[in-house]
Amino acid sequence: MPWSKVKPEYDEPDFYQQSEENLRRVTYPQAIREALDQALALDDNVFVMGQGVDDPSGMFGATVDLHKKYGSQRVFDTPLAENGLTGIAIGAALGGMRPVYFHNRPDFLLLTMDQLVNHASKWSYMFGGAVNVPLVVWACIGRGWGSAAQHSQALQGLFMHVPGLKLVMPSTCYDAKGLMLAAIADGNPVIILEHRFNFKHKGFVPENLYQVPFGKGIVRKEGKDVTLVAISHMATEAFKAAEELAKEGIDAEMIDLRTLRPLDEEIILTSVAKTGRLVIADTGWKTGGVTGEIAALVAEKGFPSLKAPVRRVGSPDVPTPAGYTLERAFYMGMPEILQAARELVGWTR
């Protein structure tokens, strides 16, 4: 389907001026592919599996042609059988390998919840640390062109509730590579949820092998009036909102969390202590998910500094509709973040 029609190419703002010397810009899928390439070259135990990783489109470009370079022993197609294959990946990890298991969509992870939640997330704890599961599970949230209810779910709200899993959601090419390398190096189960729209990004990515640490958010724009907390594609939207707000004289601070488990509580609380106002934006359903947890965190630990109610920008509580007019109503983004921020700044008891 013509994804090109869904989102145009997007040139990331340069969040990394510091590194003048090397400003190589690559696309988002190239960034991920480079991380995999380097990990495969570095460690024989790393392998890449998943339905379609070796097909011509190679996971939207993220795995393209890696099987040609590393062979079908290390980069291979799998049966659908998602739950079984997840258990197989866990077993391979226990046997000393480092599997990276790709899925087109998070929707398919629902078939794997038994192995992910009942097994992978508990294996180290349940056995008193005698074993551990270095497993990376990757899936890309779909959006647009009528992807509809079963091909567009943003399920981070589910995984954020599960102790024993790490949950990663990059928003820039730089982070996509660095977080993937950190995930493969990690000794525990890590879920990376990408967003289809990020694949249109082009941004700064160093050629060297580097890791972006888990549990460390980043301030994309400093500000004093209101805090915008977001992840993945919503971080891009929130950043645009922050720039818009600046034009209106509202000085917003924009935070990209990068990982949800572990969660960088400090960066959120520090910012709210300064601004007293919080907007949280997530691509998932509003109820019972990511925005709820972060709002609760602040209501619990940041209450004294809150000058206004917390605002949550999340998807309405319905499955994703196929029709584009309904998609328009379903998907939140820059306008809603903007609106929420304005309301908070104008809010008085």
Binding site: F76, L111, A322
Partner: protein, 323 residues
């Protein structure tokens, strides 16, 4: 098998109709007015038609992402299907489902899942409902080789036999799941063919031969209707177009041009057309009339779809629950 003329003509008409609907969708898809991922069933027309020919309006089917043929063969409303592809309020799913999520309860189509294998246990459960309510109905489940990778097929087959359900598993083996050949996903033949015939009737047929499919499907449907238990029919066939979207995908190189050409020569519609002509069941002219009528019907369906209204944004919350 010697069949009455009207049955032969009807089988051909149904296949031709599905084929032409697919071609029309394909020819218009590049306009980007159908903003939904399409999965064309060109090359697989005989499976849906050969099986559904034995079904009554109140029999059930469950289908998958490649479900246009199943929907039409079961008697689903063409206008409503095309309108669904245009994501219109008049669509069979009111524009909420799109191409992968068709439904038409009036003809026993309870919805297609785009989760591969998702419809298999659901169709089995429909068979369970039939049995419990002592109806003479049949539940047919359409799935392909990717779905056969999934353990839920094993669970569903076991339950269908255990409870002797009037369920027919129709395995459209087109050998590919997206670009993965079945041999990279399964060790060999589907193991369920080893199940004793008295427990479950299973057979492998040429899925591009409407006569073969029709013949074997009859055995399975009669069996189910007489409460003699489930069946599994594996139809060896081939997807002529790319996995999704329109046009050939030969350029991708995961299958050879020769292979595609070889199957092109086995187009179920063309083969049957030649048979009916040579056996003088139909004349070129009769077929030409058929073409015209079908084209007109398709024309009307697309006009209906294009002229229909889009869902209103304020209606987003509707239909989450039955009140």
């Amino acid at each position: 098998m010697n069949l009455p003329r009207e049955i032969l003509i009807n089988l051909f008409h149904e296949m031709l109709r599905i084929h032409k609907v697919q071609l029309r969708i394909e020819s218009l898809y590049h306009l980007d007015e159908m903003k939904t991922p399409i999965h064309l069933c060109i090359g697989q027309e005989a499976v849906a038609v050969g099986v559904c020919a034995h079904l009554r309006k109140d029999d059930y089917i469950t289908s998958n992402h490649r479900g246009h043929g199943h929907f039409l063969a079961k008697g689903g409303d063409l206008k409503a299907m095309i309108a669904e592809l245009y994501c219109k309020e008049t669509g069979c799913s009111k524009g909420r489902g799109g191409s992968m999520h068709l439904v038409d309860v009036a003809v026993g189509h309870f919805g297609s899942s785009s989760i591969v294998s998702g419809g298999i246990p659901i169709g089995t459960g429909l068979g369970f409902a039939i049995k419990r309510q002592k109806q003479q109905r049949v539940s047919v489940i359409f799935f392909s080789d990717g779905a056969a990778d999934e353990g839920v097929l094993y669970e569903s087959v076991n339950f269908a036999i255990l409870k002797e359900l009037p369920v027919i598993f129709v395995y459209e083996n087109n050998q590919f799941s997206v670009c993965s050949h079945i041999s990279s996903r399964q060790w060999g033949e589907l193991i369920f063919h080893a199940i004793p015939r008295e427990k479950m009737f299973t057979q492998i047929v040429d899925g591009n031969s409407i006569m073969d499919v029709f013949e074997v499907a009859k055995i399975a449907v009669d069996r189910a209707r007489q409460d003699q238990g489930p069946s599994l029919i594996e139809c060896k066939t081939y997807r002529m177009r790319g996995h999704a979207g329109s046009g050939s995908d030969a350029k991708l190189g995961y299958r050879t041009a020769e292979e595609i050409a070889a199957w092109e020569a086995k187009c179920p519609v063309t083969l049957f057309r030649h048979q009916l002509l040579s056996e003088q069941v139909l004349t070129e002219q009769e077929i030409a009339e058929m073409d015209r009528d079908i084209e007109a019907e398709i024309e009307a369906a697309f006009r209906f779809a294009q002229e229909s209204a889009l869902p209103r944004e304020e209606d987003l919350p509707l239909y989450l629950f039955k009140e």
